[in-house]
């Protein structure tokens, strides 16, 4: 057996190192480590409940609004309130802007530049990939950044700024929208749509959202060869990314974008090809491999966070979240499966969760979300109240706030005693995906996804593709 230590990974949010053991030239065991710890769960204890709104967005600069949404939802449970329908619409808009921007940043800035490395110089698609996707210099980068910045103006108008807004409150949002402002927002969203339809998809968003089978996907690819997504599909085909990075094929998601009728994307647990209801009470964490006190499964409402940097059996600051004792993968692919998207159902049934399906789920979600955002803007009642006042006292001592960040399910568990936070526990998307082993020795999704991979090239590129296919956010992971 040989061992290889890989790190630091870049173009992931935060810090990551991976230890690989090889048997017969293939990875036989992977250990995934989150080497940075700050301790937000400890910082929150002793504060007034509403102070969580100022602290938690600062867990993460890329999923900042998601952290706010989860906290606001947990606090709404404590105070026994909920946002009015139009307040929820604006929360959804702000949240969707962050999630779409994250998907775009991941695709263009974090994931695609790996295919413009000289290591791939002999591939037929290389010249085009290098021209468009080369890190910082690729022709696709500047137009993407300009389009993204225009989309992010939504944050200036609706939320003051991004990241780290305080506009999201338990009862809604702090800023109403006037008719003229809606006109501006619609202009910016149209400009963003034009970028997507010209560069990313080479087709209308509706046509992309209508791709409902692998056959239709092949048709799209042959019809729109100039699109960035089509070029990625060529690369994926040549490098067999559809066979790379399969984990447990067990997927978990929370509800995303709630409305009066329900939500756009439902919560659930997907395993063995079928969707089940999400049982929040079955969620536990295990600190066996974490530099934290405690071992064995415990509910997030029943544990404190106590660092033990010397713990011998530990190799990560991340905890190991489990549902019903099992690990699960979360992200855009999980959401697509809960919604029953035909294309991703068909592909997942055949190949499982892989580098290709994870990335495709993320990019096609952009094509679905932007029209949804347009419809929310149109439906917004400009005369409506957007914020229910926060009462002076809480009505419950504990509450849970769940939401979907760009990279998957995010949960906040809060307990209050004597009007102060007595416990605050967070399970972030990448805590699920990049979980270390639990006390039963069960590997996390990335750890399993790396098993069997051949990684003898200097840069272990397949490992890098698999790692980035999860769109990891390590600052959230350990918080």
């Amino acid at each position: 057996m040989t061992r290889r230590l890989l790190g630091p990974f870049n173009r992931v949010e935060g810090d990551l190192a991976v230890t690989l053991d090889f048997t017969d030239g293939k990875v036989s065991r992977a250990a995934v480590s989150a080497p940075l710890f700050r301790g937000f769960e400890r910082m929150l204890v002793g504060r007034e409940p509403l102070d969580a709104l100022a602290i938690v967005p600062r867990i993460c600069g890329i999923c900042s609004v998601s952290q706010s949404v989860a906290a606001a939802r947990a606090l709404a449970g404590l105070y026994g309130i909920r946002p009015p329908a139009d307040g929820q619409r604006v929360i959804n808009l702000i949240h969707a802007v962050e999630n779409v921007a994250d998907h775009l940043s991941h695709f263009y800035l974090f994931f695609l530049p790996d295919f413009a490395r000289a290591d791939y110089a002999d591939r037929p698609w290389f010249a085009e990939a290098e021209r468009r996707f080369k890190a910082q210099q690729g022709a696709a980068t500047a137009p993407m950044l300009e389009a993204r910045a225009v989309l992010m103006r939504f944050m200036g108008t609706l939320a003051g700024h991004w990241p780290h807004t305080l506009a999201l409150q338990p009862g809604g949002v702090t800023r109403v929208i006037q008719a003229a402002e809606r006109v501006r927002l619609q202009q910016w969203l149209r400009a963003f749509r034009r970028f997507l339809e010209t560069h990313t998809f080479g087709d209308s968003l509706e046509a992309v959202a209508a791709i409902d089978s692998e056959r239709a996907l092949q048709d799209y690819r042959s019809r729109r060869p100039g699109a960035d997504l089509a070029l990625f599909l060529d690369i994926a085909d040549d490098l067999a990314l559809s066979a790379l990075g399969r984990a447990q094929d067990r997927f978990i998601a929370a509800e995303a974008y709630p409305d009066e009728q329900g939500c756009w994307s439902p919560a659930g647990l997907w395993r063995n090809g079928a969707t089940e209801a999400l049982d929040i009470a079955a969620i536990t964490e295990d600190n066996h491999s974490s530099w934290l006190a405690g071992s064995g499964a415990h509910g997030p409402g029943h544990a404190d966070t106590v660092p033990l940097p010397d713990k011998a059996e530990a190799y990560s600051w991340s905890k190991a979240p489990r549902i019903g004792g099992q690990c699960a993968e979360t992200g855009a692919l999980a959401r697509a499966l809960m919604r029953g998207e035909p294309l991703l159902q068909e592909m997942t049934a055949r190949q499982g969760g892989t580098v290709l399906t994870r990335v495709l789920a993320r990019v096609t979600e952009i094509a679905r979300l932007v029209p949804l955002m347009e419809s929310w803007l149109t439906a917004l009642d400009l005369e409506a109240v957007l914020l229910a006042p926060t009462p002076g006292t809480i009505v419950a001592q504990e509450a849970v706030g769940l939401t979907e960040a760009a990279r998957g399910m995010l949960g906040h568990w809060v307990l209050v005693e004597n009007e102060r936070i007595s416990r605050y526990q967070i399970i972030a998307p990448t805590t699920w995906n990049f979980s270390p082993r639990d006390s039963a020795g069960q590997a996390g999704p990335l750890e399993l996804a790396l098993e069997g991979v051949k990684a003898d090239d200097p840069q272990a590129l397949q490992v890098q593709h698999i790692v980035r296919s999860f769109d990891p956010c390590q600052v959230c992971t350990t918080h």
Binding site: R42, R58, G156, P163, L166, P307, Q459
Partner: protein, 333 residues
């Protein structure tokens, strides 16, 4: 011929990455063009560079040993000094804090991007069990990783672009000035912040100014009135140009309807009171506007409250303007 461009290396440690993400909000030109235009080569950035794994290790080790040069070192995030640096380890098991220090001591100039890198920031909040510190400050006190008397090779102390997050303009303009050799010690305030944004107060240009003038106060976030008296706003004390330099096109905390929490200040994360309340003594806020004598504040507040127009008082607790300003009375024919 070797490039005359300045070599910029960006490192991250105990932070959220939000200052980098905020940089991506830069418009016209966008981030990479702006750096290029300023004559800066981005030698390494953890979010944007192609090189990974061993390539990065080799580069950073070369910088630490002086085999590679760095003109501008930016650190984002606090330095984790607790437990012998084990709250942030490199893949080889050595502490990140040590690597940051070795590179900083060889850099032409050193820039702390964000309140965490400058003073410890939110990462040092609460009991700070991780020993999070800034590059040359621990909170508002000189010290930190490099010591309060640290001067980089260019003779400047650590340039503290504090803010949580930083505005992309603060960062890009500071870097452009440094690349041009146009930032001197006189251009930094006593906390090391570039004065071009830190000599302004968030209060300057606040769209709630009329409410402030008449002490027509909001009682909760989301109301039109001034947030200073009841809702925790520190805009009259916070050093930053947030209301004269728009965020994300046209925003600021105040235009967003919520209080300024003074995030450019070293200890903003532990204000000693709830973020959404203003502590008061005898009905007046404890934190007074910068440079304002208390007696005058009390006198003027009392006077201006007695003079508050009905329109302003009414709108103060509404979520939108419900009484518009009246038109000039018609002159007689």
């Amino acid at each position: 011929m070797a490039s005359k461009n300045k070599r910029l290396v960006w490192m991250q440690s105990g932070g959220c990455g939000g200052c980098t993400l905020s940089l991506l909000n830069a418009e016209t030109p966008s981030l990479f063009q702006a750096l290029k235009d300023a004559g800066i080569d981005l030698v390494w950035h953890p979010s944007f560079s192609e090189a990974s794994l061993d390539q990065v290790q080799a580069l950073l080790e070369g910088l630490a040993e002086g085999r590679e040069t760095v003109d501008i070192l930016c650190l984002e995030g606090a330095v984790m000094t607790g437990a012998d640096g084990r709250f942030h380890l490199l893949p080889d098991g050595s502490p990140m804090s040590r690597r940051i220090e070795r590179i900083a001591r060889r850099a032409g100039c050193v820039v702390a991007v964000g309140t965490c890198a400058a003073y410890g920031g939110i990462s040092a909040a609460g009991d700070n069990h991780t020993g999070a510190v800034g590059l040359s400050h621990q909170g508002s006190q000189p010290g930190g990783l490099l010591g309060g008397d640290f001067l980089a090779a260019n003779g400047l102390p650590v340039v503290n672009i504090s803010g949580c997050p930083t505005h992309p303009g603060w960062v890009l303009e500071t870097l452009a000035l440094l690349a041009a050799g146009a930032l001197s010690a006189r251009d930094l305030d006593p906390l090391g912040r570039p004065r071009f944004y830190a000599d302004k107060l968030v209060h300057h240009g606040c769209e709630k100014n009329e409410f402030y003038e008449f002490k027509a106060s909001a009682t909760a976030p989301g109301q039109m009135g001034c947030l200073m008296e009841h809702v925790g706003c520190k805009g009259t004390q916070a050093h930053a140009d947030c209301n004269s330099r728009a965020w994300n096109g046209e925003g600021s905390c105040l235009s967003g309807g919520y209080p300024c929490i003074n995030c450019t200040s070293p200890d903003f994360a532990d204000p000693g009171h709830g973020f959404f309340h203003t502590p008061q003594v005898a009905g007046f806020p404890v934190g007074l506007p910068t440079d304002m004598p208390k007696a005058w504040f009390v006198a003027l507040s009392t006077l201006s409250k007695s003079a508050t127009p009905h329109r302003v008082r009414h709108n103060a607790t509404c979520d939108r303007i419900t009484l518009p300003p009246s038109l000039p009375k018609k002159s007689k024919p």
